[in-house]
Symmetry: none
Subunit: 409 residues, 2 copies
């Protein structure tokens, strides 16, 4: 089967926004064994849209579109599909009820223009969108499939994974494709690549290595006539990766470092408290991104000044002697967080987020402290010196250390 992708939005054709949906969908379609004929991006104009749908439908069996499902006058995807197929749009009563329910739950009246998001044509089925107000459309006519998904990547990806991919998989044939992602921290992309060299040589699964904000991801894609065989290929390659990367590995697939650590704290009936300076609250925020984290996270301090550190129990002489960005202060912060909130474990970060140096120390330097009833220790981290990166990498490093402490094997 052949596929074509259409990204809709003037913000893409003016180059203001880089479209990430198209390459995501292209990769996903390739995994399903579909051949992608064309990726097209077009502006929010009805003539451009109808032309794009018409052209794509002539060249491909499946057309995936993203964007243009919002409530405003420049959202024209539904109108274009209706026009190309010669059908009339109508308001579907059950969709209207659902949509009004979303606004009612927020205690607001639904603006009149939102009613567009409750429309269908006869050849279209509505696809649920739990992350937004715009349902998708699954349209079948004349042996061709057209799918319209919302533009915001979180809405689109959820709809693709939960709704569209499974349906297409049923149509696309019988090859089994399995994907496994192994996630690690503390190695550069090149170092991970060198260690993984024997797995590159296997050919099937195919190995891809990607630098991400939470470390290095190694993605395996195996293909076989039967799922059992694909699973065996993945298992063999993953075993080799585990041998080569050892305890740099902290998780797989959809796991996040904060969900992994959260699961360990829950299993061990342990509680956690934080004190952070250069990460500015991102450590606590990341920990609390996990639903249910209130069961183990007692709270945190964003100690953006030395006075605040001292008032919470960090010895002013230690700061005076070593500087605020130092191992001893990181240890004292972890211990103070633990003691202040009566937690089993204290975790701390102190460092230089940049762009300026601090105490003569360069941006990208941080010390991470960890404390429990047996005492405190600290490690030093050096990260690329962009402010946002320093915060994110120091947080990942801190959670990675906590994971090692909780699973010392």
């Amino acid at each position: 089967m052949k596929a074509s992708i259409i990204s809709i939005g003037t913000e893409i054709t003016t180059g203001e926004v880089a479209d990430t949906n198209a390459s995501y969908l292209a990769a996903q379609l390739s995994l399903l064994g579909l051949e992608v004929e064309c990726l097209a991006a077009v502006p929010d104009r009805i003539d451009s849209l109808t032309e794009a749908f018409d052209h794509a439908r002539r060249r491909a069996d499946v057309v995936l579109a993203t964007g243009g499902l919002g409530p405003t006058d420049d959202d024209l995807t539904r109108e274009a599909i209706a026009q190309v197929l010669g059908e009339q749009m109508f308001v579907a009563p059950d969709l209207e009820r659902e949509l009004r329910g979303i606004f009612a739950a927020m205690g607001r009246d639904m603006p009149a223009s939102n009613i567009k998001q409750a429309t269908l044509i006869l050849s279209a089925q509505a696809i649920p969108n739990p992350r937004g107000t715009a349902p998708g459309w699954w349209v079948e006519k004349d042996g061709k499939i057209i799918v319209a998904m919302p533009g915001p990547p979180v809405e689109m990806r959820r709809m693709w994974e939960a709704e569209i991919m499974p349906r297409l998989q049923g149509r696309a044939g019988h090859e089994s494709v399995l994907v496994r992602t192994v996630k690690c921290f503390g190695l550069s992309e090149a170092e991970a690549g060198e260690r993984a060299a024997p797995v590159f040589g296997m050919g099937n699964p195919v190995l891809g290595i990607y630098a991400k904000p939470d470390g290095i991801h190694l993605r395996l894609i195996a293909r076989a006539a039967e799922e059992r065989k694909a699973a065996a290929l993945i298992a063999e390659a993953e075993g080799r990766l585990r041998g080569a990367l050892g305890d740099h590995i902290w998780g797989v697939d959809a796991e996040t470092i904060e969900s992994v650590v959260g699961g360990m704290l829950t299993a061990g009936h342990l509680t956690l408290a934080t004190m952070e300076s250069c990460t500015g609250g991102l450590l606590a925020s990341t920990i609390t991104d996990v639903p249910g984290s209130s069961a183990y996270f007692k709270g945190g301090f964003v100690s953006y000044s030395n006075e605040m550190k001292v008032s919470l129990g960090v010895d002013a002489r230690v700061i005076g002697e070593h500087g605020a960005v130092s191992g001893p202060v990181a240890e004292a912060m972890a211990e103070a967080a633990r003691r202040q909130l009566g937690a089993d474990i204290g975790l701390s970060v102190t460092g230089v987020a940049g762009p300026d140096s601090l105490e003569g120390k360069p941006p990208g330097l941080a010390h991470i402290g960890i404390a429990d009833v047996t005492g405190a220790r600290s490690v030093r981290g050096r990260y690329p010196a962009r402010r946002g990166d320093v915060k994110r990498l120091a947080v990942t490093h801190a959670l990675f250390l906590l994971r090692q402490k909780l699973a010392p094997c």
Copy 2:
């Protein structure tokens, strides 16, 4: 003039490589005043390429292609252009001499397949490529322009800037294009669209409305023969938007809500402290995303338990009477943060991040408190109930309130 962009390469249509050339060129063309009809990416197959060139040439005056100029069998851009225009490719002696010179300078024989890179058609001129072996093509026929550039971004960008852009500038006339983005909070996308309806009607500037994590963005693009006129068009439309959206507007263009607030605190010599529960540290983290924020941000508390709130000075009876997620507790938290850290202003968030309810209150509900020496007040917010969205929207809401307090006009 209308333009169309074609990115050539199977690595793009399989999603292995994200194409950055197209959005770069789209932005450049928009700045030149050209309207971009379509961005297309196609695989390295002759039928796909001829189809893409043929289609683009029918819809646009200028077609920019990147990729497919290498020496191997899957580099087919020249062949496709020749075929679409019905012309024959021939080896150009001066190009061949140059190419052999490049290899000679490296002390190597030229592989036979490289001779492709010394070919032309009668309608094509060669464009120098000092960063690689493949010259570009500038093709003019039947009133249309086709430009073929190499795929590697360093080669393509140099060729664009030094050779292609100046030529197109001469053709495109002198149209000026100005862009202005107005950012607001507290309205849905549809509500903003309804209020902005008169500006939609202006036609020039063109208005686009986008829902973003920090609220609704309204983007104006004006075109005119002179920059002065484009600026006047933008000013008129922005004035209308300001009239229609009032104090929902918090910033323009590259401003973030945290940078706006940071600038106001700095200007007013004011300091800030935070106490937050459902946002889990994201409020403090967002405030500290601004370089130099340590000058006004004294620190923050992530009070993920009632005990922690009480230990910091929130009256336990207020929690008992109203519940932790309530206006009175938000006010007490803001006041406690301020007092604990000796700051001028205290800002707080307490709410239900979800997915579960709390104290019988639904996910997506929050109370935001703000306190200074004159007292405290609070407002209630309701957001769509996805955990990550609740955190981000509550943080934006809190900073939006702080902005209103600092600019009470």
